[in-house]
């Protein structure tokens, strides 16, 4: 393969001419040999269609247009569930209770005992009263969604390349290519994916990619009445995300798994996972 062309430099792999110029000093025999080898390996790569697989590395180096991110301020979330409702309506999602691209959890830490968590119907219809009996030390709401990890385990395990991270940092599913093996659902540590009951493909939050690419906010951010959800570009100097990061102690979920999430939480204690 040493003799082969470097597809990352944009050469057409089946074109041996570039190689030929460097070979003038060599003996005619060597030249012919390398020519044949180059042509052969180039042809093999080209015919297999692998040249496009190799191109991946080159493309990734190009300047990324955006790096989208979301920030969530736990201190502001009132648990109204409007985000869950809007998400379902915007994305025409199954109405059944066990499919959510985003949901709201309620944490109740009693004075003694373990933290209790619940999310009835994803928090879309509010929360029942906290069970009587235990004295409550603290309680709060935590909205959850796909973390759009920089190092997404779901993308890593997809056998066919039907889920991927776009260059602007959004993890998407190709619903016309997904085979529905559910490996990505298993690999997601956050429970953010589900099997679409009608389309029979994996489905998940897209950061409302169809909206953000047209300058709108994701539906959940649009309807959040208290600005508990903030959306923007992580690397832009003028960005609500930048301000959020400057003034808040924030964390990501399950940092020990090294998934590098792009959803940041302020005020979420270690009991949030």
């Amino acid at each position: 393969m040493n003799e082969g062309p470097d597809p990352s430099k944009g050469e057409r792999p089946e074109d041996p001419s570039a190689q030929g110029e460097d070979c003038e000093c060599q003996s005619r025999r060597d030249f012919l040999k390398s020519l044949v080898k180059t042509a052969a390996s180039g042809f093999l790569l080209y015919t297999c269609g692998f040249e496009r697989l190799l191109a991946e590395g080159a493309e990734a180096q190009g300047a990324a247009p955006h790096q989208y991110a979301m920030a969530i301020d736990i201190h502001k979330c009132i648990g109204c569930g409007r985000c869950v409702d809007a998400c379902k309506k915007e994305n025409k999602m199954p109405a059944e209770p066990h499919y959510f691209r985003t949901w709201v959890e309620r944490y109740v830490t009693p004075v003694r005992g373990e933290t209790q968590v619940d999310s009835p119907n994803g928090g879309m219809n509010g929360f029942p009263e906290i069970k009587e009996g235990e004295e409550v030390l603290k309680t709060f709401f935590v909205p959850k969604l796909c973390n759009h990890c920089e190092n997404p385990p779901c993308v890593q395990v997809c056998p066919v390349g039907a889920t991927f991270r776009t260059r602007d940092g959004v993890v998407l599913v190709d619903e016309n290519y997904c085979v529905g093996c559910r490996y990505c659902i298993q690999a997601c540590p956050y429970g953010a994916r589900y099997m679409h009951p009608v389309k029979h493909v994996a489905d998940k939050c897209t950061f409302c990619y169809h909206r953000i690419t047209k300058g709108l906010l994701p539906a959940c951010v649009e309807v959040c009445p208290t600005q508990a959800r903030i959306f923007g570009e992580a690397d832009a100097p003028q960005s609500p995300i930048r301000r959020f990061m400057r003034f808040n102690d924030f964390r990501v979920l399950k940092p020990e798994l090294n998934t590098a999430p792009m959803v940041f939480y302020a005020g979420a204690g270690k009991e949030v996972r």
């Binding site: 015919t47 297999c48 269609g49 496009r52 697989l53 191109a55 991946e56 493309e59 990734a60 502001k76 979330c77 009132i78 648990g79 109204c80 569930g81 409007r82 809007a86 309506k89 915007e90 994305n91 025409k92 309620r106 944490y107 109740v108 004075v111 003694r112 509010g126 929360f127 906290i130 004295e135 409550v136 309680t139 709060f140 709401f141 390349g161 039907a162 889920t163 991927f164 991270r165 776009t166 260059r167 998407l172 190709d174 619903e175 016309n176 290519y177 897209t206 990619y209 169809h210 909206r211 690419t213 047209k214 709108l216 906010l217 539906a219 649009e222 309807v223 009445p225 208290t226 600005q227």
Partner: protein, 248 residues
């Protein structure tokens, strides 16, 4: 030549495998989608499919282009950051059609409590009412204008926003104390709470007014030597003032 003396078996197998490989290569060329691998290991055209999804929430900006009067009212109100479609529902069709498909207008009494019903898990400072006790039977909009929800009169009680603290205090030994016994409340706090925070006690002496052994207060109130009790800790470092002797 030695080359041509390959055993018959191998020749057959080579031919067979050659055919398999050729079929595989041809199949790849035919069936691998055209845009696969343009950006990475996926179909680049999948991005367009996702982008083509229909928008249902128009976004507040689109609403204000026509409803500038409401924008005017709303932008000065407590609800300035509440997007139109939180209450009126997805309205992209209404915007695209230039006014048809009137968005929903929730007038029922059960809608506002989605946000403003009392729930102890909500952050303190967020206006909440106990729905059953707050003007029972009356529609919210008969007193509050949703686009400018300033209450008809200033809240008499801090419980309007600090319900969780209020209800704990009500069942504690401090039930009879007014919030202002310990907190100083600037007038602007009622209108612009976050920018005008209430004052909190800074020294032990505030508690000492009642709890110091020298204090002139009711005999039943527990007394300590406020100077030495607790050492270098301040009173509220250990006691929760809103529920001072917590049961558990």
């Amino acid at each position: 030549m030695k080359f041509f003396k390959l055993p018959q078996q191998l020749v057959s197998l080579f031919i067979l495998f050659f055919i398999i490989i050729v079929v595989f290569i041809i199949a790849r060329r035919i069936f691998v989608p055209a845009t696969f691998g343009v950006y990475g290991h996926y179909r680049a055209s999948a991005i367009d499919t996702v982008k083509e999804q229909k928008i249902n929430y128009a976004g507040a900006k689109a609403c204000y282009e026509c409803h500038d009067d409401i924008f005017e009212t709303k932008s000065k109100s407590y609800h300035k950051d509440v997007s139109c479609e939180v209450c009126h529902g997805p309205s992209a069709k209404h915007v695209e059609s230039g006014g048809d498909f009137a968005p929903e207008i929730p007038r029922q009494r059960d809608f506002c409590p989605v946000c403003h019903g009392y729930n102890p898990s909500r952050p303190t400072g967020f206006p909440q009412v106990i729905v059953a006790q707050h003007n029972p039977g009356k529609a919210c909009i008969s007193c509050h204008k949703p686009h400018d929800p300033t209450p008809p009169h200033t809240p008499e009680s801090c419980s309007a926003c600090h319900r969780e603290i209020f209800s704990r205090k009500m069942v504690s030994h401090h039930y009879s104390l007014a919030c202002t016994t310990c907190h100083t409340v600037p007038d602007e706090h009622l209108a612009n709470p976050r920018l005008n925070q209430v004052g909190k006690p800074a020294a032990k002496e505030v508690c000492g007014q009642c709890h110091d052994k020298a204090a002139e207060s009711d005999k039943e109130i527990p007394r300590v030597d406020i100077q030495t009790h607790g050492g270098r800790y301040l009173c509220w470092d250990c006691h929760y003032p809103h529920d001072p002797e917590v049961k558990t």
